[in-house]
Structure formats: C-alpha cells, structure tokens
C-alpha cells in the first residue's frame, strides 16, 4: 500500500468521537481495593479473601459491561485522571481510554478473570496464605486493566510492568521451594529484557513524534523514514516477545507453570501473555508502515509456534503441554498480526482465552484431584471419576484443535487465510505468504495432535496413579462449564452473531474477507484438526504401543524435543554463565585489581617514596653537613649562577 494511504488509514482509525469524563478508573480501581481488602480482611479470616477478590473482579466486570454497552459505534470514552508527570518536553497524563479494542480486552480480562477467581476459591481452599494469593490475583487484574485501559504508552507500560510483577509474585507464590522462586525471577528478568526494548521504542516515539498518546500518535504518524518505523516496530516487538513468550524470550513461560494453576490459566494463558499481541494491535499503525518488521514478526511467530508445538508433542507434564501449547498459540496470534490482520489476532486472542483458560483450569482440576500430581503418565481414566472436568477439557481440546464449529476453528481459519493473502498489503510477504500458511497448517495439525494426546492420557484408559482422585467442588466446576461453553460457541458467536470484525473495524484495519462459508465448508476446512485429533486418538487409544516406538525411533530427535531444544541450557551456557563470570571477573579483576589497585598503588608509591627519602635521615651529623653543603652548592650553582 502507498505510504500516504497507510497514514491516512492510521489517522482514520484513531479518529474517535471521544467522550470525556467517564469514570473508567473505577474499573481498575475495584480490583486494587479488592486486593487490599482481600489481604487485610483475609489475614483475619482466610476464607473471606477469595470471595472479596472474586466480588471485586465481578464488580469490575460489571463496570466493563456497563461501558461496553454504552460505547457508541466508532466512539471512545476517555478518563484523564491527573497529569502524572511533566518535565521539559515530556508530559504524561494518567489517561484511560476505552475504545472497541479495549472493550474486548477488558471483557476478556475481567470476565475470565472473575471466573478464575471463583475457581481459585476452591483450588486454593487449603492453602495457608491464600489471602496473599488473592491479593496478588486482584493486583494482577488491576495491572492488566491498567495495561488495556491505558490511553498512552506509559500507562500501558505501568500495567505492562505491573503484570510482570504480579506474575513474578504468583509464580513464586510457594516461595519455600527455591526453584519456584527462581522461575518467578526468571520470568521477571526475561520480561525485563523485553521491557528494555519497549522502553527504547517509547523513547524513539517520544523523540520523533513528541507524544505517546495513542490517538495523538496516530494523528501525527507519517513523514518519518521507513527505517525509523522499522526500528520502532522492532523495539516494540522485542517488548512483545518478552511478555508474550516468543522466540527468543519464550523460555520463561514453561517455568512459570510453577505457580498455582489458576495463575497459569489467568496470567500465563488467557490474559497477560497476550499483552504483546494487544500491544501490536494497539500500535498497528506503526507496524503497517514497517513491512520488514511485519515479516520479522511473522517469521519469529511461525518459528515459535512450530518449535513450541514440537516440544509439546513429547511433554508428559500436563501443565507443560499446555504451556508450550500457549507459546505456540501466541505464535499464531503474532502470525495474524504479522500478516496485517490485527483483528484476527485479537479474535484468536479471545477464543484462545476461552479454551486455554478452560484447559488450564481443567488441568488444575485434575491436579487438584490427583493431589498435585502433574505427570500425565500417573493419570488416565479420570474421565469416569471427574466427568465435568473431562467433558469441558474435551470441548476445549476440540476448540484448540480448530474443528468447526468450536471457537478455535474460526480464528485459526482466519489466520491461515490472512497469511495467504498477506501479500496484498505487504509486498515483502508476497513470496512467503503461502509458505507461512502451509507451515501454520502443519502446526495446526500438531496442535490438534498433542492436545488430544494429553486429553487421552488424562481421561481415557485406566487410572495409573496411586492417589484417590475425586471431582472438584462446584466453585471449580462452574467456571469450567462457562468457559467450555464459550469455547464451544464463542467463535461462532463472534464470527457470525456479534461480528467481531465489524465491531473492531473502527479501531483496527479490517480487510474485506470472503463471505461467510457454509457449515459443511467449514467442516472441510477443519481437516487439520480432524487429522490431528484422529491420529492422536488412534495412537493413544488403539495403537498404544506405537507412540513409545515412535519416540524411540530417532533418539536424538526425540531427545531434542523432550529437552526443549536445549534453549535453557544454551542460554545458560552462552549468556548467563559467561555474563556472571564476566561480572565476577570484572569485580575481582577490573574493580579490585586494576581500579582499586591503582588507587591503593598510588598511595603505596607515595608511602614508598617516603620510605626511600627517609634513608637520608641517617642521624649522622657529618652526613647532614655534607647533604646540606652539597645541596647548597647545587642550588647556588644550578639556579643562582647558571
């Protein structure tokens, strides 16, 4: 597309009819207050904490609904809380803006958030410090809402870092286990690497456009060089890779499963990790001006989804499977964004939130039932014992597999279509579009396969474990059912009834897409899902010996997959260890030896000079006379006469 067209469209997409004065802050404030109350009151009465937190989340959801319904088409609400800080040419308002994109995000965050809060009441019922847990969980909701409500990059960044902190706290919630705490730290630090890129992007934007307000920025965009846009876009993408666990910064997410399972569902599946996708959607007008960056996004996303899917194939920890699946699905969302179909990315974000939250909660239910056993080899046959969990899990599996009419199908189908047509808007993608689409289809097959595998291993067959599993309490089942329902019909509703594309077209570029297909066609289009599911069912219910044989077929490959492509080890070996050794060397070598050495050395030299000169003090009268006389003669001759 022509530069001017793109710029025009960007300006158009940020041209809202804004309504001032809506108390948007209350949406975020409720969970913050909830967080405080959950801790203070929960400290006295542990059981109240969960209900308080859930109430806060639900109230917040109510607020969001209120604004959602009040939001006029093509309009936006704005809430300028106060001028945050200003100095020189930098002025930042604490600004909330509620437009269609935010509305979708808020609904997901508070809606699913409320469900997961409710679920957690049951899940955490026995934990000693659950008041702390709910405090953190509500705090997370607060941060996430700041992130999506933020009307400028910095408020977004506040939320961005805030969710990072909550993630850190929640991953390390059981901090007595040092490896859990370490996982939290790792998450935070890897995120920080991304944040550094994000910060640089903010600086670049501020320097070149003089504003970080999304609307103003959209209006001012244009005129700068493509290189600059590419640089900014790439910096933003670095930030996104950190938060949304893309290569090369995805390593923290699997470790993050150390946290309680509801946390994994809420933070590491449904909401926080999608923040990167949200960021790309938010800053779409910058990305469309940087075609090269879009290709990079696509490439990284494709690679991530493939690698993660491959790893997921052989994991035995139920949560690890889901974690890698999340990484892979996030890759799908970025694929959509990279292809220029931002609304599709958001679409997949939403559907993914439905089914992945359901899956995680389901796995949580299983883990809860099996007394914190996470290894699928120790499960099996749970379908009979916990039918609700099994049913919802299966529905979500089909959804993620992309089988029509389950939710996942619609968003996935759009993604592959968008890839195929990406060349239309981005000439650099012309050559690769088909190729990307093909690989994405393969990943879709893999996804269907490994998810079905996990469902089979967990719920089918006979129980292999040693504890006495039981169905979870109602507070846990209810959210499962709701989410499963959404995973079932959510995609269809958003595609046909509610028309997400139409809803978002005032804020995101929505390209005309083919008319809606019939049900049969959609079934036909879900062949990758059928293929994956079918294959997995075959292998894990009928030919149960085959998987082990396959696994042993090419040991290096399976080992490579099982060991997650050695990402952690490589990072450790190439970056972390050398850097630590370097630091240590810097301290001992540079700091103590050279720098401090030269300081102390100077002192020592002066001291030694004193010692040397002291030799002249012989105490002998004759020497003194001689020295004095010689010096006198010397001075007289050298200075006075010469």
């Amino acid at each position: 597309m022509e530069h001017s067209t793109v710029v025009e469209s960007a300006q158009h997409l940020t041209h809202h009819v804004t309504t001032q004065g809506a108390a948007l802050g209350i949406i975020a404030l409720l969970p913050l207050v909830g967080s405080f109350l959950a801790f203070v009151i929960g400290k006295k009465n542990r059981d109240s904490a969960g209900w308080i937190a859930t109430l806060a989340a639900a109230l917040s959801f109510g607020c969001v609904l209120n604004y959602f319904f009040a939001l006029p088409e093509g309009g936006a609400f704005e809430h300028r809380v106060f001028e945050w800080f200003s100095a020189g040419n930098i002025s930042v308002d604490f600004l909330f803006r509620f437009d269609q994109l935010t509305a979708v995000m808020c609904l997901v965050v508070t809606g699913i958030g409320s469900l997961i809060h409710l679920y957690s009441i049951g899940y955490m019922a026995e934990d000693e410090s659950r008041h702390r847990f709910f405090c953190y969980l509500n705090l997370f909701l607060f941060s996430m809402l700041l992130l999506v409500l933020g009307g400028n990059l910095l408020v977004l960044f506040v939320g961005w870092e805030g969710v990072g902190l909550c993630s850190y706290l929640l991953i390390g919630f059981w901090f007595k286990n040092l490896s859990f705490a370490a996982a939290g730290k790792k998450a935070f630090i890897v995120n920080r690497i991304g944040d550094a890129g994000f910060l640089l992007a903010i600086f670049l934007i501020l320097l070149n456009f003089g504003t970080i307000d999304f609307v103003e920025l959209g209006q001012r965009i244009g005129g700068a060089s493509t290189e600059l846009y590419t640089l900014i876009a790439l910096c933003l993408f670095v930030g996104a890779t950190g938060k949304s666990a893309q290569i090369p910064l995805f390593v923290w997410l699997p470790d993050a499963m150390a946290g309680p399972t509801p946390v994994s569902a809420l933070i590491h599946a449904a909401t926080m990790v999608t923040a990167g996708v949200y960021l790309l959607a938010r800053m779409h007008y910058l990305f469309v001006l940087a075609p090269l960056a879009m290709v990079v996004v696509c490439t990284v996303a494709l690679l991530t989804s493939l690698v993660a899917a491959l790893i997921a194939l052989v994991q035995n920890d139920i949560k690890k499977v889901l974690a890698y699946s999340t990484v892979s699905q996030l890759g799908f969302m970025f694929l959509a964004a990279g292809a220029g179909a931002y609304w599709v990315a958001v679409f997949h974000l939403v559907t993914h939130a439905f089914f992945k939250a359901c899956l995680f909660l389901g796995s949580g239910s299983v883990i809860h039932a099996c007394h914190h056993e996470q290894d699928m080899r120790e499960m099996g046959g749970l379908g009979k014992i916990m039918p609700w969990t099994a049913a919802t899990y299966w529905i979500s599996t089909l959804a993620i597999a992309g089988i029509a009419p389950f939710a996942g199908y619609y968003s996935k189908h759009h993604i592959i279509t968008a890839l195929q047509t990406s060349g239309e808007s981005n000439s650099l993608m012309l050559a690769y579009g088909e190729c990307f689409a093909t690989v994405a289809t393969v990943v879709a097959v893999l996804t269907a396969f490994y998810m079905t595998r996990s469902a089979c291993m967990t719920f089918l067959g006979s129980y292999r474990g040693h504890s006495h599993p039981h169905e979870s309490p109602k507070t846990m089942v209810l959210p499962l059912v709701v989410l499963a329902f959404l995973a079932f019909v959510g995609g269809y509703l958003l595609e046909h009834q509610l028309s997400l594309a139409g809803y978002l077209h005032s804020v995101l570029p929505v390209h005309a897409h083919g008319e809606s297909e019939g049900f049969l066609a959609s079934l036909l289009h879900s062949w990758p899902g059928f293929l994956g599911v079918g294959l997995a069912l075959l292998l894990y219910t009928k030919l149960t010996v085959v998987p082990a044989k396959l696994y042993g077929l090419v040991p290096p490959v399976s080992k490579l997959l099982a060991d997650k492509f050695y990402f952690d080890e490589i990072y450790d070996f190439l970056i972390v260890k050398p850097l630590y050794l370097f630091s240590f060397g810097l301290w001992k070598g540079a700091d103590q030896a050279v720098i401090d050495g030269s300081v102390n050395g100077t002192a020592a030299v002066v001291d030694m000079t004193g010692e040397v000169v002291r030799v002249t003090e012989t105490g002998q009268l004759r020497h003194y006379g001689l020295f004095m006389f010689a010096a006198g003669v010397f001075i007289t001759i050298f200075y006075l006469i010469l």
Binding site: F82, A87, G88, N89, L154, I189, L199, F203, L586, W587
Partner: protein, 545 residues
Amino acid sequence: MEGLPLLSTIIFLPLLGAVMLYLLPVCKPASDSDGEVSRYTALIFSLMTFVLSVILLVAFVPEQTDMQFRESASWIPSFGIHYQLGVDGISILLVLLTTFLMPIIILASRSVKDGVRAYLFHMLALETAMLGTLLATDVFLFYIFWELMLAPMYFIIGIWGGKRRIYATLKFVLYTVFGSLLMLVAIFYSVNAYAALHGEYTFDLAKLQEGLVLSRNVQIWLFAAFALAFGIKVPLFPFHTWLPDAHVEAPTGGSVVLAGVLLKMGLYGFIRFAYPLFPLGAQVFGPYLALLAVIGIVYGALVAWAQSDIKKLVAYSSVSHLGYCVLGFVAFNVASTTGSLYQMLNHGISTGALFLLVGVLYDRKHTRLIADYGGLAAKVPVFAFLFLVFTLSSIALPLTNGFIGEFLILSGSFQTFPILTAVAVIGVILGAIYMLGLYMKTMYGELDESKNGDLTDVNSRELLVFTPLFALVFVMGIMPGPFLRVMTPTVESYVQNVQAKMVTVAQEELDYDFNPAEFSPDTVLSKRRGEASPLAQVRFEGGLQ
C-alpha cells in the same frame, strides 16, 4: 517569617542540637547510661529542622527561578567572601531529603550501643555540613561546608564501623580530599580571573557565573578539576572504589546518610558549580561524562551481581544508580535534568531504606553475607514485604518513585545521547537481575532454622522508621507532580541559561589559549615588570579584544 534567617536556622539548628547533647546535663552519660535521652534530644532537634524545612518548602515560590530566602553578610571582605545563602528549585528538595532522612537515621540509631552521644553529635554536625553545602551560594562557603562533611563521616565510619573501618574511612577521606583540593585550585584560578576582569575579588556564585569569561582551553582545565572533585564524590566510574569499602564498613546510619545525601553532593556540585561556571568545559566534557556514567551504570550493575555481601551489593548498585543521575544531568535537557534531580531523591529514599533494612538484619544476626540468609520471607513477612517494596523501587518499577526518575532520565538523555542511552537501558535489565537475585537468595527458599530460626520481624520502632519511606515510594511514584513542579521552573531557566552560555561564548571563541608555561615562574617576572597593572589583565582580558 520576615526577619528570621530561615536558612541559617535550618543549617545551624542541628549543630546547636549537637552542642546541646554535650551541654544538657540530662544527656550526660551519668544520667543517661543507655543514651535514650540523647537520642530523643537529637531526634527533637532533627525533627525541628525538618519542620523548618517543610515551612521553607511551603513558603517557597516555585515560579521564581532565582535564589530565594537569600541571606548575605560580609565575611572576608578583602576577598569578597560572603556568608551567603539561598535556595532554589534545584536545592530545596535535596534540603528536604536531608532533613527528612536525619530523624529517620536517628530513630534507627538504636543499633549503636557505645558512645551514642558522640554518634549523634557527629550525625547532627554532618547534617549541618550537608545543609550548608546545599544552601551556600558563595563558593568559599560552599567549599568550607563541603570539606566539613568529611570530618563527621570520618568518625562515623571510623568509630562505629566494621572490621576494616580504618582502611575504609581513611580511603574515603583521602580520596575525597584529593579531589576537592584540586577543585580549590580551580576556584582560586576562577576568582583571580574574575578579579582581573572586574577589579574585585568575589566568591559570589551569581557574580562569578555572570562575569567570568574564560577561554575554552582554560575552562577545560578548570572543569576537569571540578569534575574530579565531584566525580569522586558521586562516585563516577572509575573513581568509585572508595564507596563499597565505605558502605560496607559504615554503621547503618552512616551508610544511609552516605548513600542518601552525601553522594548527591557530587552531582549537586556539577549542577550548581561546574556547569554554570564553565559551560564550555562542560560542553567538551559532557559526552565523556555521559560515557563514564553509562559505563558506571552497566559496570556497577554487573559488579553488584557478583557480590556476596548485601551491603556491598547495594553499594555497587548505588554506583549504577548514580550513573543514571549523572547521565540524566549531562544530557542537559529539561526532562533529563529534572529526572536526574528526581532520581537523586528517589535513590536517597530507596537505597537509604535498603541500607536500613540490611541494618535490621545485621543488628539481629551480625552478618551481611547473602549466604547466611535464605527463606526469611516465611519467618519475617513484614520485613520481606518492605524489602520487596524497596527492591522494586530500586529497580524502578512503575508506580514507585524510581520509575519516574529513571524514565525522565532515560527518555531525556535519549534525545541527547541515543546510543549511550540505549546502552544504559541494559542497566534496567541488570538491575532486576541483581536485586531480584538478592531478594530471592535471602527471602525465598527454605529457612535454615538453626541459623535464622530466632529471627524476629521488624518491631514497631523499626516500622516507624520505614513507614515514611514506604509512603514516599508510592507518593512520589504516583503523584510526582507536586515534587516536579517545585523544581521544573528553576531547571528550565537553569538549562536555558547554561545552554545559552555554551552557544554565545562558543561564538565569541576567545583567542587566549591555556599556556602551560604559566606554571613556571618565568612568565611571572615579565608580568611583574608590566607596571602595576594587575597581571591577570594581561592574561585574561587580553584575549577579549
């Protein structure tokens, strides 16, 4: 308030308190064996000082960009030296920081068992010196207070310090003296150059700023002398090695005051003296200072990571944080300079609090090694919570104070030094690595019952110490407006003035060159012969035509 010399009162009230400690009979060791009365006396005086400085802040007019509450009295007329004070948007918040931290330090002095009275005496004397340094607008007076800061700190580290205290304190004093004495020479040179041009000696900063005309080469030398003195104090890489030693050996209060206020004096010196007096020198040195600052940021963070001693870690983190402050200032635009000033306050609060926290641990277990702790969060949750909050403030998490400063600094300096700032951003990552690493190793994991099973959580007195700091972390992070508004008008006009000088003087480009031959007496003779005309007229004015 008319008629009351508010600034003088603020400066000397602590000293009065210090003297009272020895004069009041109730403070005598005989009647006050555990030093409790002395502590209260000192606390009252430091609180009074704080109240006065709050009054000062209230009465302060932010829009007025020049010195306020001026006081001036002739002191050494033959050299044009005045006892001259004033406060502006740059110094006022640092004054408040000083007066705010001192009561906290005194409250936290419970860990000092022997010689409480002397300890408090030195602390209060130190407060006087620091306040004087911040409020003096006469270069000579500034220098006196600047040097005066050394003696109390020397005793605080030397008497109440750790094992290697003698080494640390001597190093601290000698290193600092070494730098500041060279600055003294530069002061002489400037004053003489001024006298040569205007026929009168003056140490009045405003007059010097206005009337001092020096060539680029001379300014480079003079700026270098100032920069050395201030750079050592900051401390700028590679002049920082005294700091870890001093911090590790100093008692808790000493560390707090060292990190909280003393280090800021170096940067304050840059802001108040080095830049306005020698804008051309500053122009030349600016990028190099920025480079050193950025090296300091990354280097300090890396070395902090390698530490096994908590205090040393925090000390090196100070090197890193002060690097941000310096970077922000030398980038020299309004945003970055404001950020730099703001970050000085933040660093005072968060690092001060971290040292206090380490002090809490040290008081109980008498070790500062990270390896001796672990899993404390379960045993001392309140402590862990406070530690977390200040850690987050230290790594500049948004909505804590550190973020505002760091963002302003980085985004501001990005406009001047994009590449360097990009490198400095690495410090953001490294900061998380070493601080969270420290937090994890001390607070998380299994508690070693045999070692730390008897650890008690912060008591109410300690809580009282931390509460104001805790509150400020968030107040300054969420509502920085009131703080920034106090300083921005001054900073704006300050940056404008100095930048204007950099431009205009650079255009006039004097032809007088710095001549090393001037170091030898050869030239003096010839000048002496040039009849009664003051020698400097030849040296300084000659270049102006």
